[in-house]
C-alpha cells in the first residue's frame, strides 16, 4: 500500500510540477463556468415561463433542470480533457527511461498501475472539485436537494475513473503520447455514441448497445439513483482496464 501511495504521490507531484495540472484544472474551470451560466439562464427563463403558466413545465426543479444537465455537459469536457491527462502517463516514462527505475525497484506491476491510476484520479477529483463552487452557489440562492448531487458526483467520479483507466491502458501500449491521446479519445468517443444507432437495431442489439454506452450509465446517478447495474458497469470497466494495463506492462518486458 505504501508503494502505491508513493507512486500516486509522485504522479500528482509530476502533474503539479508541470503545466499539465494547471491547464487541465484551469480550462475545466472556465468551461464549467460557461456551461453553468448557460444552464442557469435557461433555467431562469423556464422558471419564469412556468410561473406565468403559458407554456413549458408546470413546476421546475433545480436538480432536474440545472444540476443534472450540468453533470452531463461536464462529462463532454471529460471526453476531451482526460485523454490529455492519461496520454503521457506511461508514454513519458518509457521515453525518458524512468520506466527502468520503476520496473527494477521492488514493486509489483499492480502497485505501479494502481499508483498511477490513483494519482490521475486525484487530479481529476481536483478538477471536478471546481464545480462545487457552482453547485454551492445554488445552495445560497435556492434549495436544491443534496442527495442527487452527491450521487451525481459519485457517478462523475466513476465515469471519469473509467475514462482514466482506459487512457492508462492505451498509454501503456505506446511510447508516443500523440498516438496514445488520439486512440484514447477515439475509443472513448465510440463508447459515447455507440447507443445512437440503438433505436434502429433489434431488441437484443439495442440492449447491448445501450449497456455499452459509457455515458448512458451516468443519467440515473444525476437523478439520485444508485443502480447496481451502473455501479457494476463502471467498476468492471475500471477493473478490466487496469487488468489490461498490468498485462500490457508485463508483456512489454517479454517483448523487450
Amino acid at each position: 500500500m505504501s508503494n502505491i501511495l508513493a507512486i500516486a504521490h509522485k504522479e500528482l507531484k509530476g502533474y503539479f510540477a508541470s503545466p499539465i495540472a494547471y491547464i487541465v484544472v484551469g480550462f475545466a474551470a472556465i468551461l464549467f463556468g460557461q456551461f453553468f451560466l448557460g444552464l442557469l439562464f435557461f433555467f431562469d427563463r423556464s422558471q419564469l415561463q412556468a410561473g406565468s403558466g403559458f407554456q413549458g413545465p408546470q413546476a421546475v426543479n433545480v436538480n432536474e433542470m440545472l444540476i443534472g444537465p450540468l453533470f452531463l455537459n461536464v462529462s463532454v469536457i471529460l471526453l476531451f480533457i482526460l485523454p490529455l491527462v492519461t496520454m503521457r502517463i506511461y508514454a513519458e516514462e518509457k521515453r525518458s527511461g524512468t520506466i527502468e527505475l520503476l520496473l527494477t525497484s521492488p514493486l509489483t506491476d499492480m502497485q505501479i498501475v494502481m499508483g498511477k491510476f490513483i494519482g490521475a484520479l486525484v487530479l481529476y477529483a481536483a478538477m471536478l472539485g471546481i464545480s462545487v463552487i457552482h453547485v454551492g452557489f445554488l445552495f445560497t440562492v435556492g434549495n436544491p436537494e443534496w442527495r442527487p448531487i452527491a450521487t451525481g458526483y459519485l457517478g462523475m467520479l466513476l465515469m471519469g475513473g473509467a475514462f482514466l483507466s482506459f487512457g492508462l491502458f492505451i498509454s501503456s501500449l505506446t511510447r508516443n503520447q500523440i498516438v496514445a491521446g488520439v486512440i484514447t479519445f477515439a475509443v472513448l468517443l465510440m463508447f459515447w455514441i455507440v447507443n445512437w444507432t440503438a433505436s434502429f437495431a433489434g431488441t437484443t442489439t439495442q440492449a447491448v448497445l445501450n449497456y455499452l454506452s459509457i455515458t448512458g450509465h451516468l443519467d440515473d446517478f444525476t437523478k439520485g439513483i444508485v443502480d447496481t447495474t451502473h455501479l457494476v458497469y463502471y467498476l468492471s470497466f475500471i477493473a478490466f482496464s487496469l487488468f489490461l494495463t498490468v498485462r500490457s506492462v508485463d508483456s512489454e518486458r517479454w517483448r523487450g
Partner: protein, 314 residues
Amino acid sequence: MIEVQHLTKRYGPTTAVDDVSFTVERGEILGFLGPNGAGKTTTMRVLTGYMPPSEGKAIVAGYDVMEQPIEAKRRTGYLPETPPLYPDMTIREYLTFVARIKGVPRAQRKARIDSLMERTRIVDLAHRQCGKLSKGYRQRVGLAQAMMQNPEVLILDEPTAGLDPKQIIETRQLVKELGGDHTVILSTHILPEVSQTCHRVVIINKGRVVAVDTPDNLTARVRGSETMFVQVDAGGADVKTALQAIPGVTQVTGGDAPGTVASFEVNSETGHDVRRDLAATIVRQGWGLLEMRPLRMSLEEIFLHLTTEEAAHE
C-alpha cells in the same frame, strides 16, 4: 552472489544474448566488456529483473530473478545507461521518491539521502531540478539512486560514459570503494577502465562470452607466445639470422630500417625465457645491445584480438 546460467535472450528473430554463463563472488567487481550491441545491457536488464530471459536463469543474492523478483530487486541497485531521472523533480525530491519505492524506512530516509548526496558530491545541488543537470551530475544522482537501499549487488551500465576525465576518475574511485562491501558488475567499452577497477573481466561479443578471467591472466592468455623488443647496433650485420638460431625463438620480425641500429621483435615459446640467450648471443658477436624489453599486449589489443578472432570463426 550472482549466478548466471545459460542465459539466452531473443528479440524476435535476433538473439541478443546467447547462452551466457558466469558467476560473481561476494565483494567482487566484475567488468563487463564488449563493443556496442554485444549484449551487455540486455544481460544487465535480465539480472535486474527488468526483462525475463528467453532461456536459462539468473540468481542474484540467492534469489532467482524470475521466481522471486521482489526479493532479488530489494537487494539490487541498478544504474541504467541513461540515469532514470524525473526532469521536474529536484534532486532531493527524486531521492526521497526513490527511497520510498526502495523501501527505506521513513525514519532513516533523510539520513540515508544526506549521506548519499555527500558521497556522490551533490549536496550543493539538492534543490536543483534533475532536468537541468549536466551529464556528470545526472550520472551522480543516478549512482545515488542505485545505492539507495545499500544493496548487496550493484549493476552499473556504462557508469563513466559521457563524463569528463576528472569525473571518470572520481566515478572509478567510488566504484572501487564499493567493492568489498558490495558485489559490483559494471559494463564498459573502454578498456583501461576494466584493468583499473575490476577484479575480473567478462568479455562479451555478439551475445556470447568470449573470455572470463582477471585482467592480468587475460593478457597472459591471449599473448600465447611472449614477445621481446630488442634494439641492436650491429653495423649492418645479419642479426636476424643469428637471433633466429637461438633455441626457443619462433619468429623474428623487423630490422628492415636502413642504418647500423636495427630493431626487432622476437617471439618465443611460452614459458621459455630467451632473454639470457638473446643477450649472450648479441654480446658474443660484439654488437651493442641498446635496448631489450618485454612487449605486453594491452587489454585493448586483447579485446580486438578476441573479438575479431571470434568473428573470424563464424
